[in-house]
């Protein structure tokens, strides 16, 4: 589904991703962990198409198509969704108000008829229940004055609405209370299917109790330096990153 080969990206003269290789197959959940500043959000942003980063080498194929050639909106239409680590505040634009435009643009791209107001509302009601989010929050200016948890929940709500093939969750668990964490995980698990895949960026093993990964990768200094089964997350939780850093330095 997603094939990242030797991906390198920098911002200005600063090299951030130094050759990432990752293969994600349909149905899989991959967790990416790693110390602060190692490049996790950068990887997520590059996949979603943020223009601030210069891709200086490597390639990314999504279902056989060159992802890096596509505008962000087309990546979304192809089925990629990024739940932002820091969702931006947009005054005057409510979730309901842009999401309908977004869904219908995506449907247009796919050659589907637009949803009418009734169909859209029905879908919204359904998904609102799923992530336990209030209508009033969705009618407010996006993220303006939202609590940390509300912002994250809103990201998951959007994901539930858009039903992406590949969801990338960038620290969606941070700032969530236990109940919210469970709700977010449920939202993700509801989407799990043999055709869909998820990349979860997290610092905490806790989330992985709810969203059980097939693989865990450690990103350090712009490279994936270790990959393993879900047990790797426990090891990291217990021992921290020093042993991995040491391994890397000795190589």
């Amino acid at each position: 589904m997603l094939t990242i080969s030797n991906l390198q990206a920098s911002i200005g003269s600063k090299e951030i991703l130094k050759g990432i290789n990752l293969e994600v197959k349909p149905g899989e959940v991959h967790a990416i962990m790693g110390p602060n500043g190692s490049g996790k959000s950068t990887l997520a942003s590059v996949l979603a198409g943020r223009e601030d980063y210069d891709v200086t080498g490597g390639s990314v194929l999504f279902e056989g198509k060159d992802l890096l050639e596509m505008a962000p909106e087309n990546r979304a239409a192809e089925g990629i969704f990024l739940a932002f680590q820091y969702p931006v505040e947009i005054p005057g634009v409510s979730t309901t108000n842009f999401l309908k435009t977004a869904m219908n643009e995506i449907r247009k791209y796919r050659g589907q008829d637009p949803l009418d107001a009734v169909q859209f509302l029905k879908l919204m009601k359904e998904k609102m229940k799923l992530v336990n989010i209030d209508q009033s929050l969705l009618s407010r200016s996006l993220n303006e004055g939202f609590s940390g948890g509300e912002k994250k929940r809103n990201e998951i709500f959007q994901m539930a609405m858009l039903e992406p093939k590949l969801a990338i969750l960038d620290e969606t668990d941070s700032g969530l209370d236990i109940d919210a964490l469970r709700i977010v995980a449920e939202g993700v698990n509801q989407l799990r299917s043999p055709e869909r895949a998820t990349i979860v960026v997290t610092h905490y093993q806790r989330l992985l109790d709810y969203i059980v990964p097939d693989y865990v990768h450690v990103l350090y200094k712009g490279r994936i330096v270790k990959s393993g089964p879900k047990e790797l997350a426990f090891e990291l939780e217990e021992k921290g990153y020093d042993w991995i850093k040491a391994e890397v330095e000795t190589v």
Binding site: P72, F84, V93, T101
Partner: protein, 439 residues
């Protein structure tokens, strides 16, 4: 005398004045005409402002005064011509002026005369001279402003509205000023006077439009008196052509406990200068000023506002927003005076701009002059580019870049547009903004 070409318009106007005076016979002795003559002399002394004048630093009237205009040109405007302007359909009083001349056949007045007196200035001169003597040219200063002096000197057409005390007028009134520039360069100088008496309430909008692509020049002055406990909503809407010059002054005089609520929306127009001056000459008054300007191409839009807090316990609140495209320029100059007597004044001012092109320029100048010690004042201006992060966020949800940009800019503009309380007017503006954003 210097013989620079920009004196041409001036000398033509001076000559026009004398010719018209000669034709007036007895009327030239009227009190009103004495004011006109005084204003003309003042215009003669002041001349057109140059960029050396502090108030005109960023707004150069040079190209305006090089043009030759036909003042009060005849126009054979038809209903079909009007239809192409796609104006909002308002249930209220609608008065049309074309090239400065009243068009009774296009206008309708629905409010009963005992609720609202609406007449043209020409009628008021004949029928209610006392009212004019009491209010006309008592507020809009022509000593320092050449354009106001010029308008006063030639004041002959416009609208006089008088709302009697304790009357709430539900139906809105819209004054539509159309420059018919299909055949030639045209000019007009509308002069309006609105008097909202004690505890009365009224909504008035002024709309400015152009037909055709010759040059047009509108030099409008509106004087507004909001008496004790009275409330007024005032909207100025400009959708003029790229060849339109517009200089306008709205002078507001507020008495105790009065409310004045305004929005000035400029979506198009070649060269525009709006002055909105509010004298809060009463305590416990409120003045709200909203503004939106959206120039593109080489359009120039200048908004000067002045709030003069003369008495204690009043509140003024101002929010102006600008979206600038292409090579356009914008100016915002907001003055707040708080005089020594005006203790417990609350005055807020904010001006926010988004500059969408590297070639567009925005000049902002907030000026606070505070002579009282117990006041709450704040002001802030911001000028920036489109929020790239917000743009990316929307794109990442599947919305193409141009649409995402429109969505963001519409939300930015809507902050001001939603303040317009006449629904058909607001909805029409929303459609125009959407259309301009989609271009």
């Amino acid at each position: 005398m210097n013989n620079q070409p920009h004196n041409d318009l001036k000398s033509r106007l001076l000559a026009d004045f004398r010719t018209s005076e000669e034709r007036m016979n007895g009327a030239s002795k009227s009190a009103l005409h004495q004011i006109r003559r005084e204003a003309l002399n003042q215009f003669d002394r002041l001349g057109f402002p140059t960029v050396k004048h502090e108030e005109w630093k960023y707004t150069n009237v040079n190209s305006l005064i090089k043009e030759v205009f036909e003042f009060n040109a005849p126009s054979a405007i038809t209903l079909e011509d009007l239809a192409q302007l796609e104006s909002s359909q308002l249930n209220g009083n609608v008065l049309y002026f074309v090239n400065g001349q009243y068009q009774p056949q296009l206008s309708k007045i629905v409010s009963p005369a005992d609720q609202l007196s609406i007449t043209t200035l020409a009628e008021a001169v004949k029928n209610t001279p006392d009212l004019l003597n009491q209010y006309f040219a008592k507020y809009a200063d022509f000593q320092d402003n050449a354009f106001t002096a010029l308008n006063t000197a030639f004041a002959s057409e416009g609208v006089v509205i008088h709302v009697p005390a304790h009357t709430t007028v539900e139906a809105p009134t819209i004054l539509r000023f159309i420059s018919d520039a299909r055949q030639m360069n045209v000019a007009s100088q509308p002069r309006n006077l609105f008097i909202v008496d004690q505890n009365a309430e009224v909504k008035v909008a002024e709309s400015f439009r152009t037909l055709g692509d010759q040059a047009s020049f509108t030099n409008v002055v509106t004087e507004i008196v909001v008496a004790e406990d009275a409330r007024m909503e005032y909207y100025k809407i400009q959708n003029e052509s790229d060849m339109a010059y517009h200089i306008g002054t709205t002078q507001v005089y507020q008495q105790d406990r009065s409310h004045f609520y305004s929005a000035t929306v400029t979506l198009d127009g070649g060269f525009i200068r709006n002055n909105l001056n509010i004298a809060l000459d009463g305590s416990n008054c409120e003045a709200h000023m909203y503004g939106l300007y959206f120039p593109n191409g080489r359009q120039h839009i200048d908004n000067h506002t002045l709030v003069d807090h003369r008495k204690p316990n009043s509140h003024s609140n101002e929010l102006y927003k600008g979206i600038l495209e292409d090579r356009s320029t914008g100016v915002f100059n907001g003055k707040i005076f708080v005089r020594q007597d005006a203790q417990k004044t609350n005055a807020y001012q904010s001006c926010k701009n988004v500059v969408l092109s590297n070639d567009a320029t925005m000049n902002t100048k907030p000026q606070l002059e505070i002579f009282a010690d117990d006041v709450k004042c704040s002001h802030g201006t911001t000028t920036g580019k489109l929020n790239e992060e917000a743009l990316f966020y929307l794109q990442s949800r599947g919305i193409p870049k141009t649409e995402a940009q429109s969505l963001l800019m519409f939300a930015f503009a809507e902050d001001v547009i939603k303040k317009i309380k006449i629904d058909p007017l607001r909805e029409q503006l929303e459609r125009r903004i959407q259309a301009k954003l989609a271009r």
